[in-house]
Amino acid sequence: MTFPTLALVILLPVLGAIVVGLVPKRRPELVYPLALTMSFLPLAAVGYVLWEFEVGEPGFQFTQQVLWYEPWDVSWSVGVDGISLLLLALTAILFPISIAASKSITKNTKMYMIAMLLLETGMLGVFIALDLILFFVFFEITLVPMYLIIGMWGSDNRIYAAVKFFLYTAFGSALMLSGIIWLGAIGGTFDFKQLLDIPLSSSQQTWLFFAFGLAFAIKVPIFPFHTWLPDAHTEAPTAGSVLLAGVLLKLGTYGFIRFNLTLFPDAAVRFAPWAAGLAVIGIIYGAAVAIVQPDVKRLVAYSSVSHLGFIFLGIFAMTSQGLTGGVIQMVNHGLSTGALFLLIGMIYERRHTRQITDYGGVARVMPVFAGLFLFSAFASAGLPGLNGFVGEFKILLGSYLRFPVAAVLAASGVILAAIYLLWAYERIFTGPVLHKENEKLLDLNLREVLILAPLVVLILFLGIYPKPALDRIEPAVAEVLERLEEATDYSVPDFGVPEELDLAQAGDE
């Protein structure tokens, strides 16, 4: 047996949680640095995985399978491919940042940090699980720490938000669990790779597609299921918002790619137009609603709905470009929205209000803050040169090949994104300083800048040189598409170009 690297990856946060838990009560000042240190361990492990990952190899790497319970054929089955690799890395990076940004948590710090580290385990686990039950366990376990984080350290309306978040997403998961069990009962195994070979009838695929799809759709969230998100994002403490937007939402989109497209290809192809329709509605709706939000955190939350709509569109375009764009956009959204939430958290710590009208002219007193906010906002709005563009561009170009109308409508999202972000920026940062309280706001200190620095660097890096990331995604995406082609009458959309001119295909080589 090879060294269980991935098991180590998800056990390290648990170890961290234990270590933090052992901090004696009379030394509370140790909790923060210790938790921060501990959160670097999984990052190091994920770094090792990144380093050792064979680029260009299709299929899963670092696989490991240990049979757990023979009658159900449940096993500890893990592995990473290009899709999960990047999300793994995103998660591992966002956690130290989030923990570092949690300095202002003074109540029950220890429990908070433990919850954070356990949350990390769950989130990392989702991306490596190759057994459906295992996946479900990780998928669902993330709810508990997040629930605690929102409910205990959130702002005024936190209980409502926490309960809503928990119940809403758990509702989706319940249907998925039923679907998983049914699938396991049909296939006689819960192992993902074996289930790929189980033929499912059309109606079975439909039901299972919806059972899984609803869970993921709520998690993403897709348009009509999004209402938990603004509440949860808004009420959560900064780190909670960062992780919600950065990672948690990606569990849904990841699930769509990993399971809905591959396990139920027939249904996926059949319902793809509907999914694209919902995605487009989500893009425009989320952006339109974001424009008029009076609460800046809510605004960013709704912008997530819009952005996730892009990702969703890319996924269900089922083209190489769209799917790749979707995956890279998951990472991008995590970085840019994460940065935005961090920034909002930083000013919230100073002013304890998120209402846009309570600000105005902040750029004069906090120039560094304003600059970083604008940077993140533009990254979020898909400015070329920053990361958001790469994904959005790929998604649009890729989805146009399959759903031209949807892609055209989705492109209007770029206008709306500029409107809500710049308008918010205008109202918060520009003009004269309207409120006395804002006169004396301190600009970001070194710690805060350092927290944001890795995000800024990554935003720039992925915007300018996304090739390393894309090179890792593409073989995995190609495999998904191959499976779709095999299982259905789906085919790669015709470019209308002669074979020898098919440059996009040639460019993949």
Partner: protein
């Protein structure tokens, strides 16, 4: 050398980053010198790299940097051909001058270094735009200049109007980009690539001439170009953009960025060639914009707004030029316009600077003697823009008009429009000059105008020289520019000026229009008295035909209202209400169930007995025992 053209981009980029991160270390004048030096070096790099084109010994070359987006076959790659060479030199050259000018102009600004960082960023972005070898890189530059424009317009963000103007510029630009992106999607879907070379090479095989696809692509590109170049109906942002510092207006909103649309149409000439309808639309839009903006410029009181509408109007000329296929003429006018409009703006800036930030021409007058250098240089630009030979504007404008006339048919109408516009242009520019420099001083109290320092006047002089003689590079007798650009337009059917006597007649007519305009202005303003310019018509003109209000009332307000309805009714009440409603329903069900638990033993016993009867009934019926 050509392989190193990326240095021209990298230097200002580096400058921007350095100034942003370590600007404070530089201090006030040094940051300006640093940035100016970088811009100048970029210009030098571009100039040296284009030497081979002058000798005609070089071909277009691709400079591959790195693979940017695999899967879309998009590389970070530059294309060095005569067109990009011209653009690079214009951009970097004018840019360097304006950088230099700004050293003085921005003196004492608290965010001095930041200004130069943004300027350098703009320069780099613009160079990326003109150097890109594919649509994606072009789009990168396209968006980045938008960003720089945004940053610079709202540079004095404490002024709410400045902040709003920046936002407006970016958003309106984004509306154009929307069209651009869709065009890119279409191009990618058609060609499987976004590279200029691949697209243009296969355009005639993959696209049918005048077909829907190519027409659609080009029209969408036009939307993008209209956004960037402030053409109808997306022109509204440019007048507001005057909220930015004047060097910004000169560089971005006169000389370079706004011409990106023209550049783009010229660059994609192959496609427009295949879509005559779109080309016609481009020309029409250009002509309409030209006359539309020119009429508005007549009624403006703010010196910079006059110039802004003038810019829009001149951009209309360029569109007309590229629309009729006179790409060289378009680029030529782009170039001369860059010289004289930058000069006009810088001169206006000098005036504003001298007048203690007064921009209203009603409060000026009589500056001729106080600011001789400014007056002299601006006068050259005035003549240039009015189309008086031999100044630069005459040559380029005339070429466009001639090419339009030569196209015949419907385009003759456009020529007439262009001609009228030429007259109007001469009139409103003269009006500007008379109001500012002639007559009695109408200065506000305490204003003591003075000539600007030499750091500011030097660029004026350089530009004045260029405005005066710049037109000579492409005269009917010596078509240097056209030949220079020829390799870039190999695949395009270039429109040419007519042969024989016609061009002479056309030139005379257009000069006449200019002279008429100047003469009428002379009659109206030479007395030094302000003519009465009130009344509804003037209101309409001064407010730009109330287009902003129209947009506000028909798009912005209803849009906002709709968004509010969506957010606070559909979302909160509808969707979220449904979700909460389910929760409430469950809770309500609990309340409904509660009374069943009466606490009475006999009721519970009923439950047991009832359950038993129910189960019995169920099992017996299912078991077939009944």
């Amino acid at each position: 050398m050509i392989d190193l053209i990326w240095i021209a981009v990298a230097l200002p980029l580096l400058g921007a980053a350095t100034l942003l991160l370590f600007g404070k270390r530089f201090g006030e004048p040094n940051a300006g010198y640093f940035a100016t030096a970088l811009a100048a070096v970029a210009f030098l790099v571009g100039a040296i790299a284009s030497i081979d084109f002058f000798t005609g010994s070089a071909h277009a070359e691709h400079v591959f940097l790195f693979t940017w987006i695999p899967g879309l076959a998009i590389d970070a790659e530059f294309l060095w051909d005569p067109l990009s060479a011209v653009m690079t030199m214009v951009v970097a050259g004018v840019g360097s001058l304006i950088h230099m000018y700004s050293i003085g102009y921005m003196h004492g600004d608290p965010r001095y270094t930041r200004f130069f960082a943004y300027m350098n960023l703009f320069l780099a972005s613009m160079l990326i735009l003109v150097l890109g070898s594919n649509f994606a890189v072009l789009f990168v530059g396209w968006e980045l200049v938008g960003l720089s424009s945004y940053l610079l317009i709202s540079f004095w963000f404490e002024k709410p109007s400045a902040a709003a103007a920046g936002k407006k510029a970016f958003i309106v630009n984004r509306i154009g980009d929307f069209g651009f992106i869709i065009a890119l999607m279409l191009i990618f879907a058609t060609f499987g690539s976004l590279g200029f070379e691949q697209v243009f090479e296969h355009a005639d095989t993959l696209l049918e001439e005048g077909g829907t696809t190519v027409t659609l692509i080009t029209l969408l590109l036009l939307v993008g170009a209209a956004g960037k170049s402030a053409q109808l109906p997306l022109h509204v942002w440019l007048p507001d953009a005057m909220e930015g510092p004047t060097p910004v207006s000169a560089l971005i909103h006169a000389a370079t960025m706004v011409t990106a649309g023209v550049y783009m149409v010229a660059r994609t000439g192959v496609l427009f060639d295949l879509a005559p309808f779109s080309a016609g639309v481009v020309a029409t839009v250009g002509a309409l914009t030209a006359i539309f903006a020119a009429t508005i410029a007549i009624g403006q009181r703010d010196i910079k707004r006059v110039l802004a509408y003038s810019t829009i109007s001149q951009l209309g000329y360029m569109f007309m030029g590229v629309g009729v296929g006179a790409y060289t003429a378009g680029i030529f006018h782009l170039m001369t316009h860059a010289f004289f409009k930058a000069l006009l703006f810088l001169g206006a800036g000098s005036v504003i600077h001298a007048m203690a930030d007064e921009q209203n021409m009603d409060k000026m007058g009589g500056l001729r003697k106080v600011m001789p250098k400014t007056f002299a240089t601006m006068a050259i630009a005035w003549l240039a823009i009015s189309g008086i030979p031999p100044f630069a504007g005459f040559w380029s404008k005339d070429e466009i008009l001639a090419a339009t006339f030569n196209k015949g048919g419907f385009f003759v109408v456009l020529w007439v429009v262009g001609l009228i516009t030429a007259g109007l242009t001469a009139y409103y520019m003269s009006r500007l000059m008379y109001l500012t420099f002639w007559g009695e001083p109408r200065w506000a109290d305490g204003v003591k105008p003075h000539e600007s320092p030499s750091l500011m006047t030097t660029p004026l002089i350089v530009l004045a020289v260029l405005s005066a003689v710049g037109g000579l590079i492409n005269t009917p007798w010596r078509l240097s520019l056209e030949h220079f650009l020829e390799p870039a337009f190999e695949a395009v059917h270039l429109a040419h000026a007519p042969e024989g006597a016609t061009p002479w007649i056309l030139a005379i007519v257009s000069v006449l229009a200019g002279v008429l305009g100047i003469m009428y202005a002379n009659r109206r303003f030479v007395s030094g008295e302000l003519p009465d310019e009130t009344g509804p018509m003037w209101d309409w003109l001064e407010n730009g035909y109330y287009v902003d209000d129209l947009y506000g009332k028909t798009i912005v307000l209803p849009g906002k209202k709709a968004a509010e309805e969506l957010a606070f009714f559909a979302d909160t009440k509808g969707l979220d209400g449904a979700v909460n409603g389910v929760g409430l329903l469950v809770k309500q069900m609990a309340e409904w169930v509660k009374p069943l638990q009466t606490g009475l033993v006999r009721n519970y016993a009923v439950g047991i007995l009832g359950g038993a009867v129910g189960l019995l009934l169920f099992i017996l019926i299912r078991g077939g025992a009944l």
